[in-house]
Every structure is written in structure tokens, then in C-alpha cells.
């Protein structure tokens, strides 16, 4: 019996030492991602008009993306979500910051390009929302 308990204790300690700890589900983070998805897609619809008419809204939206990144970064075990927000705010990644940088550079975006890019932007936000939804409620 001692031998059995000892073996189980070894298994237990192996499990404990190899411990993985991921960030728990966060309702605020989930809501932020959903809100930013909706507002980003609505902003993309405005991009057929001149960027100069929407500078303040675009800046405000990107500020919210930066805040979402900083919020995610403050939580341990949240590396993938942090990396996702980092891609959203990096113009090289052709996601939200990339779209706004493009809008600013070109002055306005063709309707056909907005229509092509909106489903992909929605999908990109969905990856953040899906990952948050999959997190454990601890």
C-alpha cells in the first residue's frame, strides 16, 4: 500500500511541477474585443470617405486597441492574446492599424477593397473573441 501511495505521489508531483497556468476567462476582455470588432467594422465603412474627416475617430479607435493590448499584457499566462492584439496594432500586419495607415496614406479606400477586407477583419477579431471564450472560468 505504501508503495502504491508513493507511486501516486510521484505522479502527482510530476503533474504539479510541470504545471501549465493560463489566464482565466475575463468578461471585460471578451466585451472589449466584441465592442472593438463592431466599431472597427463600422469604421471601415467610413473609409470610402476622406480620412481627414475621420482622423479623431480613427485615433480614438486605435487608442482602444492599444488599451486592450496593455490590459491583456498585464495578465500572466496570456501570451497568445497579447500577440493577437500586438498584430492588430502593428501597421505591417495589415489588420486594424494597417487598414487605418492605408486609409491615411491613400486618403480614401475603394468600396471594393472595403468589402473584401471587412470579412477578414471580422475573422481576425473573432480569433481573439474565440480564444477568450475558450479560457477557463477559474
Amino acid at each position: 500500500m505504501k508503495k502504491a501511495v508513493g507511486l501516486l505521489a510521484v505522479v502527482y508531483s510530476l503533474l504539479i511541477t510541470g504545471c501549465i497556468s493560463t489566464a482565466p476567462f475575463d468578461q471585460q476582455a471578451y466585451q472589449t474585443a466584441v465592442d472593438l470588432k463592431v466599431d472597427s467594422l463600422a469604421m471601415m465603412d467610413q473609409a470610402s470617405g476622406p480620412y481627414t474627416n475621420h482622423t479623431a475617430e480613427a485615433d480614438a479607435l486605435m487608442l482602444r486597441v492599444h488599451k486592450a493590448y496593455e490590459y491583456a499584457k498585464g495578465k500572466p499566462g496570456n501570451d497568445e492574446t497579447v500577440a493577437q492584439w500586438a498584430k492588430m496594432m502593428d501597421p505591417k500586419d495589415k489588420l486594424m492599424a494597417g487598414f487605418i495607415a492605408d486609409w491615411e496614406a491613400k486618403g480614401q479606400i475603394k468600396k471594393s477593397m472595403i468589402d473584401n477586407k471587412k470579412p477578414m477583419m471580422a475573422e481576425a477579431y473573432d480569433t481573439i473573441i474565440d480564444l477568450e471564450s475558450a479560457k477557463l472560468k477559474k
Binding site: V11, C19, D93, T127
Partner: protein, 104 residues
């Protein structure tokens, strides 16, 4: 007592195999969906390029965005895999705890 150890080890093995199978199935379905959509999108953009609705630069831009979305998907899958591993780890700890308590 060996029976307890055998049964715990079997249970741990079943948990790990089930998780691996479920995750592989989910990942494969997600990857298939993504590739199907990518195929449809590229076909649509090619048609738009031929019709002059978009330029070569636009086409490249769309492909780059698709690549960024694929990277976002990969991050999601990696994050979910870690979450599933933590779940498995918790289930294993519960199984071993319960076996130890039964054994003493």
C-alpha cells in the same frame, strides 16, 4: 493496490488520448474551413483583378491581410491548445488525488 495504480494510469492515458484526438479534430476542421475560405477569396479577387475592380497592388494587399489572419488563427489554436493542456492537467490531478485518498 496494483489495481488502483493500473486503473489510475489507464484513466490518465484515456484522458490524454481523448484530449489529443478532440484537439486534432477541432484543429483540422478549423484549418479546413480557413483553407476553403482562402480558396474562395483568392478566386474572387482574381476575378476582380481581371475585371479591373482592383489593382495588382490591391491584390497583394489582400493576400498579405489573409496571411495576417492565418497568423491570428494560429495564435488562437496555440492558446486553445495550452488551455486544453491545463484542463487535462487538472483532470489528472483530480484523478490522482482521488486514487491516493482511496488508497490510504
Amino acid at each position: 493496490m496494483n489495481d488502483i495504480i493500473e486503473s489510475v494510469l489507464d484513466e490518465l492515458k484515456t484522458m490524454a488520448v481523448t484530449m489529443a484526438k478532440d484537439e486534432a479534430k477541432a484543429f483540422s476542421a478549423d484549418a479546413k474551413d480557413f483553407l476553403e475560405r482562402a480558396k474562395d477569396d483568392v478566386a474572387k479577387w482574381t476575378k476582380q483583378l481581371k475585371n479591373g475592380e482592383i489593382t495588382k497592388e490591391d491584390f497583394r494587399d489582400l493576400l498579405e491581410m489573409k496571411k495576417s489572419v492565418a497568423e491570428m488563427q494560429a495564435l488562437k489554436q496555440k492558446g486553445i491548445a495550452k488551455i486544453r493542456l491545463e484542463q487535462l492537467q487538472n483532470q489528472m490531478l483530480d484523478a490522482v488525488t482521488s486514487a491516493v485518498l482511496k488508497a490510504i
